[in-house]
Symmetry: C2
Subunit: 193 residues, 2 copies
Amino acid sequence: MKELVERIQKDGRVLGEGVLKVDSFVTHQVDPVLMEQMGQRFAEVFKDQGITKVVTIEASGIAPALFAAKELQVPMIFARKAKSLTMDEELLTASVYSFTKQVTSTISISRKFLSSEDKVLIIDDFLANGQAAKGLIELCRQAGAEVEGIGIVIEKSFQDGRQLLEEMGLKVVSLARIASLTNGQVEFLEEDA
Amino acid sequence: MKELVERIQKDGRVLGEGVLKVDSFVTHQVDPVLMEQMGQRFAEVFKDQGITKVVTIEASGIAPALFAAKELQVPMIFARKAKSLTMDEELLTASVYSFTKQVTSTISISRKFLSSEDKVLIIDDFLANGQAAKGLIELCRQAGAEVEGIGIVIEKSFQDGRQLLEEMGLKVVSLARIASLTNGQVEFLEEDA
């Protein structure tokens, strides 16, 4: 998406190899106008998939997921993260390993909000190793829900998340695709939408 | 707000004295249509205060804050919660005590996103003891920013958060005000907007 790529060029900051900071408009301070445009783009791409729920993970996935859900006229669900979780039959849970933090956390969604009737669009702000998305897919599958696609704000295409998800047979649509972050420079691939 | 009060009557669940669960449309699964209406209502109430930033706290404050920010055409910032934080000069930090969880956590906002030029609208999903709002106010004041008002989705009027904030000289606007939750029943006061 042109507006997003331009905004990353203007306000994104490269902090060493592999780290792109977009905390002034995505991950901490949020630009609602850009978020709405991104939500509209996701909705446009997935509008014929019969989506019934948009699923994301707290906290920075919420804004793009909310606007996508609004456009698709369906509810949005955000999975909760917790270091540990007591066993609870009412929860769908999955483990997510973070390569950057080297920590495994548990993510969860209340069982009552997903069922085998649901067709899910997963939205997240970043796709790197694909571990968070994989956790969300697992929650959906536990509920018998079908994952119709994955919408990503910023994809680090030099990591293997996209490949992992595509090998699961899933359609991945990224609004910005980063080819590399070497020498403090952001190099882009052509985005999907 | 009539739509919110009716939705609480329909889908809110009282879990014992003092606990109102609204996880099917506010705190876990989110209704984007209702959220947008609430954001519009907050914006309408505070539109003449010269608001430059909407500030909330992750995770369930993000949705109403985002729509309020969109309507007011300003950025939204969500404070991060952490159990402990390493000292970092770039962060504004405050401690928030949770009476329900009996845990003190640290909330933070990057210093660069708030300044003495800012007029802030604080938005949160719940107001009970007012400790989260108080923490957000402290972050704003550390930055020299002025807090112009506080917009709350659901106020537990039988707890003392509103009084605490009003004694600080702040305008509090709640879209639903709960008088009591006794015997599994939700009793409302007249809402502010």
